[in-house]
């Protein structure tokens, strides 16, 4: 650790934490300095697309005026002093197992740009519109897939049921694009499609086909990297796909039907719950990064009605995932992170043409749930002001957050990558992680 980090620790201690926090952090710093190799953690990212409200999740403001605090009340958690929304009672019982970050903020309050910033740690380098699907920088998952190859030909980066905006590989190339599991694991017929040899092809015949393929595939390859022959990427994909199909360990990971019924119930018999369970199986098989794309958090209207329905099942799944990982001894090496591209406006409003109120986009404040991967639970990092307008204590950037995830993945966020044309690019421009979580 650098001298400078000690200074920062000191400041953080003064600003908000208590003395014990400070000691804990110093201890962590000391072990860091001693070069104690930390295990590399994997990551399950719950991407709450649309921008979840911080008020109705992890940053309630009961003292604010009614047009700001909204209809919901906070509840106490099992950690004294930490309160979260009343519709997440199960997460309230395990608050000692996760941290809440309340002070990450940025300046990209439209979906396209906000997705890009939070998925990649880089602000979009030209302006983008709200509906845009942009990619200027590789996403966390794609970098993980490249830096942390998964065993058995497994893709290093899964996403279900679809890729999030800016969740792609950009210049790392299609090889590190997420493997999309589109179908619903809650379905009795569920299987991950295309990863098994069709039943009527005995393995002998499948092998025969590979031999024949080597015989007929004679398209010349242009190996000079300047040529950028797209066929090179195809070849890599083909080989990896073949490895995946041929490896029993990989095949086992996809078999969610082998889970006991009680576990499947506990996660929630719905698409989101079963995706979380499948994510746990994939991580268990060695996949470093799994994104669960959890859309529909863009509550411009009917915020309270929608969340009353949604939060209880969401709460059950996320709490179960954290508990299950903990009981299996996997939480120490598995991050569970839930966030979206930004928070939502303090003032509740009803848009023209709507009858039920909601909140709009707000990048000055947001909340992130961060569990596992050696993160000390039961803490809140940073704070917003009394009305949730903006991060006011321990103000952090998306770069800080993304650097934290990279460090826990065992990837150096200060690394420099080169684009295919040779242009150097920092993985994260500010590679300071959030010390309280390290």
């Amino acid at each position: 650790m650098l001298r400078r980090s000690y200074l920062q620790l000191g400041l953080a201690g003064l600003a908000g934490g208590n003395f014990l926090d400070l000691l804990a952090m110093r201890k962590a710093s000391a072990s860091d300095k001693a070069g104690g190799a930390k295990p590399k953690s994997n990551c399950i990212l719950i991407w709450m697309d649309g921008g979840p409200t911080h008020f109705e999740t992890f940053d309630p403001k009961p003292e604010a005026p009614v047009e700001i605090r909204g209809e919901f009340r906070p509840i106490e958690t099992n950690v004294s002093g930490i309160r979260i929304c009343e519709h997440m009672p199960k997460l309230a019982k395990v608050a000692d197992k996760y941290a809440i970050i309340r002070s990450v903020c940025h300046n990209q309050a439209n979906h396209g740009a906000g997705n890009h910033y939070m998925m990649t740690g880089a602000p979009p380098r030209i302006p983008v519109g709200c509906g845009a699907f942009v990619s200027f920088h590789p996403s966390l998952g794609s970098v993980a897939a490249m830096e942390r190859p998964a065993p058995h030909g497994m893709p290093g980066y899964f996403t279900m049921p679809s890729m999030s905006r800016s969740g792609g590989p950009n210049f790392l190339g299609a090889k590190y694009a997420p493997f999309v599991v589109a179908n619903d694991p809650n379905n009795e017929q569920f299987r991950v499609r295309d990863v098994e040899v069709p039943k009527d092809l005995l393995s002998e015949r499948f092998g025969k086909r590979q031999d024949l393929r080597r015989l007929v595939d004679r398209l010349p390859r242009y190996s000079d990297p300047q040529v950028s022959d797209p066929v090179s990427a195809y070849d890599e994909n083909f080989q990896q796909g073949y490895d995946l199909v041929m490896t029993p360990e990989a095949q086992k990971a996809f078999d969610i039907h082998s889970e006991p019924a009680a576990i499947r119930e506990a996660y929630g018999r719905n698409s989101f719950g079963q995706r979380a369970l499948l994510a746990r199986r994939l991580v268990d098989a060695g996949v470093p990064f799994v994104t669960i794309y959890d859309g529909g958090w863009d509550h411009h209207s009917d915020l309270f009605g929608a969340l009353k329905k949604r939060l209880p099942t969401w709460d059950q799944t996320v709490a179960t995932l954290i508990n299950d990982l903990d009981q299996r001894g996997m939480l120490e090496t598995t991050m569970v992170i839930a966030l979206g591209e930004f928070g939502r406006t303090p003032k509740i409003s009803t848009l023209a043409g709507q009858t039920k109120p909601g909140r709009d986009h707000w990048a000055n404040a947001m909340s992130i749930l961060f569990a596992g991967g050696g993160t000390r639970g039961g803490q809140v990092v940073g704070a917003t002001d009394r009305q949730g307008h903006s991060a006011s204590e321990r103000v952090l950037s998306p770069e800080n957050y993304v650097s934290t995830v990279y460090r826990k993945l065992g990837i150096d966020p200060s690394k420099i990558y080169y684009t295919p044309s040779g242009r150097p690019t920092h993985l994260v421009s500010d590679h300071t992680p959030i010390q309280e979580l390290m």
């Binding site: 030209i126 302006p127 699907f133 299609a174 493997f179 499609r193 295309d194 242009y222 300047q226 950028s228």
Partner: protein, 744 residues
């Protein structure tokens, strides 16, 4: 159309975070050089102060330049509005940003130097020139320019553009010229950007650095709303004798212009591709399907003169042409059916197919869209107006699609890379101000009702800042005044399609070129501007003139491209052109797009992919909505119907794609189907050599060579070989080879 880097129309570029430029503008740290340095008494806001706000990034997109400002202090983006900026600094917040009593205590200085907490950090220090200038300006009574003061006319870059050699350095100087004849060196206050930083990069102080690789770059310099560009090339260091270019085969003007350009870079084109490669390309690029074995044979046997020209004509006249090209345009125009209703989506689809079936000239195509009126259920072009309901929305689309101008930026502020202002944007939008609607069931998102679009008698748009009603005004040239009761859109179409319109033909030929060559002369294809120049301007201009000469007939333009020698170049690089990705010195390989691949597999297996709710013989190219289920089309990245607008296509391959071809149940079933091609071949009397030959012609569209044929014959001859299974296994192997999946 334009699958590559398809830039979605609605989502194009809203200028709120000009980050790259912001970074550049923040870095310049050397003091300002002013040749006619103003003295304290003459410092003027527009001339001396606003450039500081821009150079120090204060008015950039992420900071005070964004629409709502930052913490209550809002400046115009990059200083395009001097009145607003002066008000913000001097008058707003009761003038608290300046202290005339003690100028050095002014909030603006305390913030910028970090004496008071500033979210944007320290922008300059007390010892910097900027500090002195601001101080003096405040002391001097915050003067503004008057009519007597010089006005900025233009900026220019010196020295004159010239080519560079690898790793060479050069310094650019930017000079601002004023209407009183004075000038000053503003290099340190400029924002610079290189469009190809690997080829030539530029530092904030104007220092150029050529990289190690040959290529071309254009540098943009911007100062107070004025833009200048400086284009350069880094040729290969090994000159090619002229005689080598003179000896190259040439079929038409395209070849001359491409070779001219290549000669400036010391690059030679690749050799010519084989006949079978040419025919495969022609079929896939013109009509989106593989040539059949009998068609390949007929081409080979044809010895009459003008063979290629005749074949191109006959392929373009096939019925598949309409579906293939309508599908490209549907990518750009197809609305979300949840927004406009199913019937309106369907009628637009039918209108597009009909336009290409009739080979509607492009000018008529544009006119019928821009002036569309009537029922969304009867005239498909009207659906576009149902989808883009506000003048602002349709203006953005029309300018990007047909003019190749991304005007969207100018909706909210002066375009940062262009001459266009908000007045230009709303002047264009005013052409659509009288679009009237009547109908039922119109509340999005789910509304299937019929809607009638017509020309109203009234309607106007206002400038969002001045609230002034703006009359229709085209982006360039003189326009006929609009007659009372005339639909202004007719006047807009007249301007767009007039003989001297500088945009429409160039944007159109660039799109069509990119579709069949794989890379546009300008990339992205819908972003034509001085700061994003074409890789070959002469070629773009010549194609545009040619398009006019042939009456905007797309098939005639395609004929010219397909019969050029450039189109028939091999993809195999030579010693000189490996690095070329923009100048068409070789064929650029591309993966077959989703619908083409689906139809190709149907043709190879003789078993169609089946689509819900469509007749069994429907081809993927005939689907009218992306909401039709298809694992294959999803895997191979057709536009995502959940995006709005759904027009983005991802090129390149992924493991998902290779796994799909390898293992998908539906493909396996079609290979093994009774009555399918494998079954037919296996049951036939044909010998192994003939079967192998047919498979090669069908899937790779070429004959097997001697060794391929004999090796596979030997496989058939092995003991206990099941003939049908062998045919199936070979077909699978070929479908899983890049020679099938790529257009080589």
């Amino acid at each position: 159309m334009i699958s590559r880097q398809a830039s979605s129309i609605q989502s194009a570029v809203c200028l709120t975070g000009l980050v790259a430029l912001h970074a550049l503008t923040c870095l310049g740290s050397e003091p300002v050089v002013t040749e006619n340095a103003s003295t304290a008494s003459t410092l003027k806001f527009e001339l001396d102060i606003q450039p500081i706000l821009t150079a120090r990034g204060c008015n950039s997109g992420p900071c005070h330049g964004k629409a709502r400002g930052q913490n209550g202090f809002a400046l115009s983006l990059l200083g395009f509005d001097a009145n607003m900026d002066f008000e913000a600094i001097v008058k707003n917040s009761r003038g608290r940003r300046l202290s005339f009593a003690s100028p050095n205590e002014s909030l603006i200085l305390n913030k910028a130097t970090g004496k008071q907490p500033h979210g944007g950090g320290i922008r300059f220090t007390e010892s910097d020139e900027e500090y002195r200038l601001l101080m003096n300006w405040i002391q001097g009574g915050v003067a503004r320019t008057t009519d007597a003061d010089p006005k900025l006319l233009r900026i220019s870059v010196s020295p004159d553009p010239h080519s560079m050699i690898a790793l060479e350095q050069e310094s650019l100087t930017v000079t601002a010229t004023y209407n009183d004849g004075s000038s000053r060196n503003v290099t340190q206050m400029c924002a610079f950007q290189s469009n190809e930083p690997t080829i030539v990069s530029i530092a904030p102080n104007g220092k150029l650095q050529a990289g190690a690789l040959p290529g071309e770059a254009t540098i943009m310099a911007r100062y107070m709303g004025k833009i200048a560009t400086w284009s350069t090339a880094v040729p290969r260091p090994y000159p090619v004798p002229n005689a080598e270019y003179e000896a190259l085969p040439r079929n038409n003007f395209i070849d001359d212009l491409v070779y001219n350009k290549l000669s400036t870079l010391n690059v030679l084109p690749s050799r010519t591709c084989s006949d079978s490669q040419y025919v495969r390309r022609l079929f896939l690029d013109a009509i989106g399907r593989l040539p059949k074995p009998e068609e390949l044979a007929a081409y080979e046997l044809d010895t009459e003169p003008n063979k290629r020209s005749r074949w191109v004509k006959s392929v373009l006249d096939r019925p598949e042409y309409a579906d293939f090209w309508a599908n490209k345009w549907a990518d750009l125009l197809r609305p979300n059916p949840y927004r406009v209703g199913i019937k309106a989506t369907y009628s637009l689809d039918a209108w597009l197919r009909d336009a290409f079936r009739k080979n509607l000239p492009y000018d008529d195509f544009v006119r019928q869209i821009v002036t569309a009126q009537g029922s969304t259920w009867r005239n498909g072009a009207v659906t576009i107006f149902r989808d883009r309901r506000e003048p602002e929305e349709i203006t953005t689309m029309v300018s990007q699609l047909f003019l190749g101008v991304r005007l969207e930026c100018a909706k909210c502020h002066q375009h940062p890379f262009e001459v266009y202002s908000q007045a230009d944007f709303y002047g264009m939008a005013a052409y659509f101000a009288k679009v009237g609607y009547k109908g039922t069931g119109l509340s999005p998102p789910i509304s299937g009702g019929e809607e009638i679009v017509f020309a109203k008698e009234n309607g106007d748009v206002k400038h969002p800042l001045t609230n002034q009603v703006l009359p229709p005004k085209a982006l360039s040239g003189m326009v006929q005044p609009i007659q009372p009761k005339q639909d202004p859109r007719v006047s807009l179409a007249d301007w767009m399609l007039s003989a001297d319109n500088p945009y429409v033909a160039r944007a159109a030929v660039n799109r069509i070129w990119a579709e069949v060559i794989g890379v546009g002369i300008v990339e992205p294809v819908d972003d034509l501007r001085a700061t994003n120049p074409p890789s070959n301007d002469a070629l773009l201009s010549a194609l545009a003139s040619h398009f006019r000469e042939v009456g905007f007939d797309p098939k005639k333009l395609l004929h010219t491209i397909f019969t050029s020698q450039v189109y028939a170049l091999s993809s195999q690089p030579n010693e000189s052109n490996a690095a070329d990705a923009r100048n068409f010195s070789r064929h650029y390989r591309r993966r077959l797009k989703a619908e083409v691949l689906s139809d190709a597999i149907s043709d190879v297996t003789l078993q169609n992919e089946e689509f819900d709710g469509m007749p069994k013989e429907t081809r993927a190219m005939q689907l009218w909505t992306h909401r039709t289920n298809s694992e294959l089309l999803d895997a191979f990245a057709r536009p995502d119907p959940n995006q709005d607008p759904p027009c983005e296509r991802v090129v390149g391959t992924s493991m998902t794609q290779t796994l799909h071809l390898m293992n998908a149940n539906h493909i396996q079933k079609r290979i093994a189907a009774d009555g399918g091609r494998c079954d037919q071949l296996a049951k036939s009397e044909k010998d192994a050599a003939t079967i192998v030959s047919e498979l090669y012609l069908t899937i790779f569209n070429r004959k097997p060579d001697e060794s391929e044929r004999s090796l596979l014959e030997a496989e058939f001859a092995k003991p206990n070989t099941d003939r049908r299974r062998m045919v199936e296994d070979i077909m699978w192997s070929m479908l899983n080879s890049p020679e099938f999946l790529y257009l080589d």
